[in-house]
Symmetry: C2
Subunit: 188 residues, 2 copies
Amino acid sequence: MALRHAVLAALLDGECSGYQLAKAFDVGVANFWHALPQQLYLELAKLEKEGLVAGRQVIQETRPNKRLFTVTGAGVDELARFAASPAKPSFIRDDLMVKVQAADAAGADEVIRQLDERVLVADAKIEVFGKLLRRMRGELDEETFLREGARVGPYLTCLRGREFEAGHRAWCVRAAAVLRARVAAGVR
Amino acid sequence: MALRHAVLAALLDGECSGYQLAKAFDVGVANFWHALPQQLYLELAKLEKEGLVAGRQVIQETRPNKRLFTVTGAGVDELARFAASPAKPSFIRDDLMVKVQAADAAGADEVIRQLDERVLVADAKIEVFGKLLRRMRGELDEETFLREGARVGPYLTCLRGREFEAGHRAWCVRAAAVLRARVAAGVR
DNA sequence: CACGCCATGTAACATGTTACATGATTGC
DNA sequence: GCAATCATGTAACATGTTACATGGCGTG
């Protein structure tokens, strides 16, 4: 039972639909959680049945109707309970890192290509996070916003997301360079 | 089918038992994958049936017998196929980040405490990774090892693991400071 | 004498992923 | 005209987690 809390936390940002949530969770909600649309629709249905979120139908003319969800009082209580419970350790799960681990034995060329590609993905994400951060803090500079702004939670997680991508990017560049040098030197 | 590749990649480091593997995957195999012992025993059994790893029994006197596994030729081929296939995007899954995201609404005090705690965990991990790196490169300095050493894969992933922990540590410190300042100022 | 480490597994349950199902609108 | 976006769901399948089961040895 962990996705439920990620959903509740994401919904604190403001009323949104399953579809919009799915977008956020696809990017990774500032890179700290990931889920597919199907899972979210299911989880929202459960949360609604338990009274932790409330949905209201919005009829649209040019697009399909949608349902917007808000966290209820009971939902906030549940989040508070969760916040006070012991946290599970974080973990990364990264195909590309598995490939680097195996690169010596499993062929470096393809891995190098994928590392190069990953750098571009990281660049794109870093820009997205940068924009999100600017939008959240509005007119204020970062220090002021963190002192006085409303809801710093999403800002802090987004900061971490950006730093994670920057770190990952730097590592990809380095790993690719190392592997390339070894291929060139014929190290085996 | 992704754990299988993580297991194969980990086994390249040298023959080891399910129990030893479990230790590695508990720390996180240099923080890029995580799995419980039960899953590993199951996966090893499957891999053996498919001929991707070979196990040999080692009878011990003072301890329970164990089975040591090695990657077979077919296993290396499978890794090569995997390395050439498109990689899934990496993702973090972190309870603590969910809590920070919700901290504004769900009570900051407990979250601050857990951030402080997490800093200590990070310190411990950073030290472990540092020791692993030193052991892997032996006498050589890092540059030389990365140019000429055998098997740089594990070294590179371990580097990333250490940097990840360092980044996470820094973020925890910052997030805790921000939340503390707001609690002190009574921002709500 | 109790606790933790070594060592391996099975079974039941909870989660997460893939495939299927539908259908209008907007932009290229 | 074709693809992408908006929008929601169900069903089947694959993975991951928790609980159970066993048992000797070493250390405080």
